[in-house]
C-alpha cells in the first residue's frame, strides 16, 4: 500500500536530482542559524557555492555535542515566530538537546509517518492504539500525527496502564498498535495472566514496534503471540523522531525516506564512506527541515545499506537492523541515556566515593537498571536511615538527569572494578 506512490517509487536518478536541489537549498537555509554560520566559516565552506550531492563531502559533520553546546536555540534557522513545537531529550546539567519544528516540519513529519504506516498495510479503516509515551519524547506525538494523517481512528493512550490498554483493545477493537518491544513482551505476559488470547479475543493485525533494538527472535515471539504482523521502525529525535525509516511488507530492512534525508554510511574511525553493504555509522542530512536543519549528523547508530532493489517497488534504500552504537549511548526503556549523565548526577553528591557502575538486565521483558554506587568513607556516620536517604537522593538525581528511575545499590568503597584509564562503567546483560 502506498501513501505517496510517486515519491516512494521515484527512479533513483530523479530522487538524486531532488536531493541535490534540496541540499543546495538546505545548506543556504542552515547558514542562517548561528551554529552553522560559524561552523561553515570554520570549515571554509561558502554555502553559496554548494551545487549539490557532489559537494556533500565538503560539508562538515555535526555531532550531538554541537547540539548541546548550542542548546537551546543555536541551530534554529528561521524566525522564532515560525517555530511551532519542540521536542527535547532529558537532562538538566548541560546534556540536554532540543529539536524545533515549523508548521511545515510537523506536516512533513506526519506525511513520512503516514507513508511508513501505509507501507505496513495500515489504512483509514484501522483503529490505532498508540502505546508509547507522549510529551517531550517524539515517539508518541510523532506516530499520533502520522496516524491521523493516514486517517486511522487514533487512541492516544501513551505507555503504561496495562489493564486499561487491554480494556481499550477490547472495547474499541484496536487493529494497529505502536509499542516498544519491551512493553510488548510485558503485555504478552499480562495477556496470559488475564487469560486473554489476543488471536481469539482481540483484533490486532499490525504491531509497529520500535524505539528500542530487538531481535528477529523477539519479532517471531510477538507475532506468534499477538497473531499480528510486527514491523520494525527507525527514527531519532534529531531527525524528527519515528518515521525516518520503516519496514515494508517484505520485512527485509527499513526504507529510509531519501527525499527528506541524505543517507551516508561512514567508517566511524576514518569518517570515509564504506562500500555498499558494509557496516558503518549512519550520517544523515535533513533536506526539508525548516526550523532546525541539520547537516551530516553523526547519528552513531551502526548499520549497513542492504544492496539491491526491494520487491515492494520503493526506490528508497533500506538500512539493516541497528546492530550497535559507535559511542557509549544506552537505550533504556526507550530512553537515550549516556553514562556521563549518570556520572554527572553522582558527582554532584559529596557522599559518593567515586566508584560507580551501571548494570542493565531485563526483568519480565522490561529493562531494569541498577546503579551500584560506592559510599565514601568519610560520609558514613553509622546511620542506616542516612544511607537509605542517600539511596533516594541518588535515585532522584539520576531520574532528574535521565528520566529513567534506577534501582540504586550502595556498595563498599573500592569494590567496583577499575581498569587502568577507563573504568568499566556499564555491564549490559540484556538479551535483545
Amino acid at each position: 500500500m502506498f501513501w505517496d506512490k510517486e515519491k516512494e517509487t521515484m527512479p533513483r536518478e530523479g530522487l538524486e536530482a531532488l536531493q541535490s536541489a534540496r541540499l543546495r537549498d538546505v545548506v543556504r537555509r542552515a547558514a542562517k542559524s548561528p551554529f552553522y554560520k560559524k561552523k561553515f566559516a570554520e570549515a571554509g565552506v561558502d554555502p553559496e557555492t554548494v551545487r549539490g550531492l557532489e559537494d556533500l563531502r565538503k560539508l562538515p559533520f555535526t555531532v550531538k555535542q554541537d547540539l548541546r553546546d548550542w542548546f537551546p536555540y543555536g541551530l534554529v534557522a528561521v524566525d522564532m515566530k515560525d517555530v511551532v513545537r519542540l521536542h527535547a531529550s532529558s537532562g538538566t546539567t548541560g546534556k540536554s538537546t532540543a529539536v524545533f519544528y515549523s508548521r511545515a516540519d510537523i506536516d512533513n513529519w506526519a506525511d513520512m509517518v503516514a507513508r511508513c504506516m501505509a507501507m505496513t498495510g495500515a489504512n483509514n479503516s484501522d483503529v490505532f492504539q498508540n502505546m508509547t509515551g507522549y510529551g517531550m519524547f517524539t515517539g508518541g506525538l510523532g506516530m499520533h500525527f502520522g496516524a491521523e494523517r493516514l486517517g486511522m481512528l487514533t487512541i492516544p493512550m501513551g505507555a503504561g496502564n496495562t489493564k486499561w490498554q487491554m480494556a481499550n483493545m477490547k472495547m474499541y477493537g484496536s487493529t494497529v498498535i505502536h509499542i516498544t518491544p519491551s512493553y510488548a513482551l510485558h503485555l504478552c505476559e499480562e495477556f496470559a495472566a488475564e487469560g486473554i488470547d489476543p488471536k481469539r479475543d482481540l483484533k490486532i493485525r499490525i504491531a509497529l514496534v520500535g524505539a528500542e533494538p530487538y531481535s528477529e527472535g523477539t519479532r517471531r515471539k510477538l507475532e506468534g503471540f499477538l497473531g499480528a504482523s510486527v514491523f520494525n521502525s527507525y527514527g531519532l529525535s534529531e531527525m524528527n523522531g519515528p518515521g525516518v525509516a520503516f519496514e515494508c511488507v517484505e520485512k527485509n530492512g527499513m526504507h529510509l525516506w531519501e527525499d527528506h534525508y541524505i543517507l551516508e554510511i561512514v567508517d566511524p574511525k576514518t569518517l570515509e564512506p564504506v562500500a555498499e553493504g558494509e557496516r558503518g555509522e549512519i550520517v544523515m542530512t535533513t533536506l526539508t527541515r525548516e526550523a532546525m536543519p541539520i547537516i551530516r549528523y553523526r547519528v552513531r547508530d551502526l548499520t549497513s545499506i542492504l544492496p539491491g532493489d526491494c520487491p515492494c517497488g520503493r526506490t528508497h534504500r533500506r538500512i539493516d537492523r541497528i546492530t550497535g552504537r559507535s559511542d557509549d549511548m544506552l537505550i533504556i526503556k526507550g530512553v537515550n541515556v549516556f553514562p556521563s549523565q549518570i556520572e554527572d548526577a553522582l558527582m554532584t553528591m559529596t557522599e559518593v566515593g567515586g566508584g560507580w557502575q551501571i548494570e542493565l538486565t531485563r526483568v519480565e521483558g522490561a529493562d531494569h537498571i541498577v546503579v551500584n554506587v560506592e559510599v565514601a568513607d568519610s560520609f558514613f556516620r553509622g546511620d542506616i536511615k542516612e544511607l537509605n536517604r542517600l539511596r533516594k537522593t541518588i535515585q532522584g538525581a539520576i531520574k532528574d538527569e535521565t528520566l529513567v528511575t534506577p534501582e540504586v545499590r550502595l556498595v563498599e568503597p573500592n569494590t567496583l572494578p577499575r581498569s587502568v584509564g577507563k573504568a568499566v562503567r556499564v555491564i549490559d546483560k540484556r538479551q535483545i
Partner: protein, 142 residues
C-alpha cells in the same frame, strides 16, 4: 561517652568473616554485636574492648567505619529488668534508634545498649533515676 564501632557492608557472604578476621588480627575482643540490613547493604555494630583500634583495623580492611555513642545500662537479669528503664526514656520523649542486650551472668546481670536520638545527657539522667549506667572503662573492661 562510650562508643561502638559501626561498619557499612554489602549484604553478601564473607563480609562479616572479613570483619571478625580484622578484629581478631588486631587483638580486639568483641563483647557484643548486632547486625541490621536494608536494601542490599547492612550495618554491623561491634561493642569491643578497644574501639579506636577496632575502627582502624576495620578501615584497613576496606570498610567505612564510624564510632557511635552508646549508653550501656547494667540491670538485673530478672523479669521486669528492662521495663524499669524504658519508661524513663519515654518520660523524656527519647527515641531509641537501635538497641540490643546481652547477659553477663545468667539470672543475675544483663547489659542493655542504646543508641538514642539525643544521647548527650542521657547517662546522667538514667543514673539520677537509679539506673546503673556503665562507664567507658566498665564497658570496655567487661
Amino acid at each position: 561517652m562510650a562508643v561502638q564501632a559501626v561498619v557499612f557492608m554489602q549484604n553478601m557472604p564473607g563480609r562479616l568473616a572479613r570483619m571478625t578476621g580484622a578484629l581478631a588480627g588486631a587483638g580486639v575482643n568483641i563483647r557484643a554485636t548486632a547486625i541490621s540490613s536494608s536494601e542490599g547493604f547492612g550495618v554491623a555494630k561491634f561493642l569491643v574492648d578497644k574501639p579506636e583500634i577496632a575502627a582502624a583495623a576495620l578501615k584497613d580492611a576496606g570498610f567505612p567505619v564510624a564510632l557511635k555513642n552508646v549508653v550501656a545500662v547494667k540491670m538485673d537479669d530478672t523479669v521486669g529488668g528492662l521495663d524499669r528503664i524504658l519508661p524513663l526514656l519515654q518520660s523524656r520523649n527519647i527515641n531509641v534508634e537501635d538497641a540490643y542486650g546481652f547477659i553477663l551472668e545468667r539470672g543475675k546481670e544483663a547489659v542493655f545498649v542504646f543508641e538514642v536520638d539525643q544521647p548527650e545527657d542521657l547517662g546522667e539522667f538514667l543514673s539520677r533515676n537509679g539506673c546503673s549506667v556503665m562507664s567507658e572503662s566498665d564497658l570496655y573492661g567487661l
